[in-house]
Symmetry: C2
DNA sequence: CGTACTTTTGAATCGCATCAAATCTGGTGG
DNA sequence: CCACCAGATTTGATGCGATTCAAAAGTACG
């Protein structure tokens, strides 16, 4: 996750991969369509979006560097849309090739490790969303994502708010009160520093 | 997930597995301890619990039939406690044996499928927790977990509330209003039936 | 048959969503 | 290079829905 995810792909897969260039607004795949390839975002940003009954959009996954809908490759149809939010370079590996490559021991081991990491990350995300207040969610995010008390936020605050399950207004207010309380310090280029443990 | 998860274990692993009988309140493993085995709950109930900074308990995973902390087997230490909530029978497979067994092609394929399913489930759970109102979360749960408009709830409403990220009071009230509105019908033995789509 | 836990309802409170609007910022094209 | 535009950031006012605290009734299990 920290390192480029595509590096776990074995040479033969990288050899047969197509590199897609998709501009903002493009649809990588649509809800209901059949998975034909495994996608790996190398630059830009892609989001898995599901439109709720009431019309609200829910972001299921946000990929800036990593695989997209990797748990659904063996499914009959995608259950969400994959939208390019920021012009992206995306590797596309044919589904059958990918599955055949999994017969290689080293690759399968690496792949299991990757999916495990994704699962732990998702469970952590659930844990965070179970917290009741905005402040607790921010602290939880810090505790789990920061490297040595310093968080390098790789997104806008608005996107962060969405990930925390908050409106951006609520996040702004919470951050402000935490800054004023001295619990947090904001540094340029989207960095935050925690004060106490 | 629907079928007994342990059935994906190959014969040689089932042969070397120990069957643990743990009574309510027992600790399967503690936060900070090193993973020594892969556990699979066969009956009873086991919960992964993390105590938040404020002292509140957060349920990370709830296992009544399936593997526990399966994504952390290759980790140096558990980051949560595994507590037996209801007297349980748990299969224990030594860590090294499990990892060696993954060299078998069929088992690894099955295992990847299992972890994929877990990942999809966890992402769905996140999606649900991003919904703002109790009613929406209940409906989402119905839509994703019900079989043909009928939901067989395999837990108490209190546990359900925790899974939905609500207090039990909020869930009771929401259910009542949905019953009164005719959106839902309650049947004996924890079954619910949706009215419209 | 008692005890622990779930289920259920009530009242008061609080935090977040919502709606509104102004400012700031980065990137685009003329 | 500057004007412009879309999106991000920020602040304010208001209301709703869920939490919280409290308490009673139902239920399962040893």
């Amino acid at each position: 996750m920290r390192l480029d995810a595509h590096s776990i792909l074995p040479p033969e897969l990288r050899a047969c991969a197509t590199e897609l260039q998709l501009s903002k607004g493009a649809l990588l795949f649509a809800q209901g369509s059949k998975p034909k390839a495994m996608y790996c975002v190398r630059s830009g940003e892609d989001r898995l979006i599901r439109t709720a009954v009431n019309g609200a959009e829910i972001v299921l996954q946000r990929a800036t560097s990593g695989f997209v809908a990797e748990a659904s490759l063996d499914h009959a149809a995608y259950h969400c849309d994959a939208v390019v939010v920021k012009t992206a370079t995306i590797l596309s590996v044919p589904r059958s090739r990918f599955q055949r490559a999994l017969s290689d021991a080293a690759f399968r081991e690496a792949w299991i490790g990757y999916v495990n990491a994704q699962l732990r990350h998702s469970r952590l995300q659930c844990e965070r969303l179970l917290l009741r207040t905005a402040r607790e969610r921010v602290l939880h995010f810090m505790e789990t994502e920061a490297r040595g008390r310093v968080l390098k936020l790789g997104m806008t605050k608005k996107a962060w708010a969405a990930e925390l399950g908050l409106t951006h207004e609520a996040l702004y207010r919470t951050l402000r009160s935490m800054l004023e309380a001295g619990e947090l310090a904001e540094r340029p280029s989207g960095c935050f520093r925690m004060k106490s443990v």
